[in-house]
């Protein structure tokens, strides 16, 4: 059971990495236009 869970997590991580790599490969890296800054009320 534990092995199956580990395998599933590993598969999900690989899918995520591939997905993000595809997006990054298509994107030209640019400087940020703005950043978010928060003040706790």
């Amino acid at each position: 059971m534990k092995t199956t869970t580990t395998k599933n997590n590993s598969k999900a991580n690989t899918e995520k990495e591939q997905f993000l790599n595809n997006i990054l490969a298509k994107k030209k890296i640019q400087s940020p236009t703005c950043v978010t800054v928060c003040a706790v009320n």
Binding site: I23, S31, C38
Partner: protein
């Protein structure tokens, strides 16, 4: 309740729903040539962005979210939202429990000069890592669909040139 929501965009948007959404949508339509459905969708995505920014702070992450050219239309809606100061403040207080400030990057920071190719590559590598970190965070909190909408669909539909063209 909102803090427990991850990847369930529909539930999140329902939790972020405001009585004054129409005022923000109509304000955006006065400033940009978009239809109501488009303006409504951009506002929904901007609210998700603001929620994510507040989560990033509450979780005391070592990085802050940033807007680059891919997310320009979200930035434009954010500017429009901020114009309605009372509604924006109410949204931050009631929905995020945190006031999310907007801090533009200065012109001198945007136009960077490099003394060497090595320095330029080092900077680009740093920016790429920051972006990867942000994409990973968005993926974990809001799912692949949101990453794709923000970094593939929106830049295609609303790039800098197109935003300039729809400004009234």
């Amino acid at each position: 309740m909102i803090q427990e929501i991850t990847k369930s965009n529909k539930a999140l948007l329902s939790a972020l729903d405001c009585d004054e959404d129409n005022i923000i949508i109509e304000g955006f339509m006065e400033r940009y040539s978009v239809n109501r459905d488009e303006a409504s969708e951009i506002l929904q995505e901007t609210k998700k962005w603001l929620w994510l920014a507040s989560e990033n702070i509450k979780e005391k992450k070592s990085f802050r979210l940033f807007i680059d050219n891919s997310l320009l239309i979200i930035d434009e809606m954010w500017h429009n939202f901020i114009l309605h100061t009372r509604i924006y403040q109410k949204f931050c207080n009631e929905k995020l429990n945190l006031f999310v400030h907007h801090e533009p990057t200065s012109a001198s920071e945007k136009i960077r000069g490099f003394d060497s190719e090595e320095e330029k590559q080092k900077y680009q590598k740093f920016q790429e890592e920051k972006l990867r970190q942000q994409l990973s965070y968005i993926y974990d909190k809001l799912g692949a669909e949101t990453v794709s909408k923000w970094y593939e669909e929106f830049p295609e539909k609303f790039n800098e040139k197109k935003i300039h063209a729809i400004k009234r």
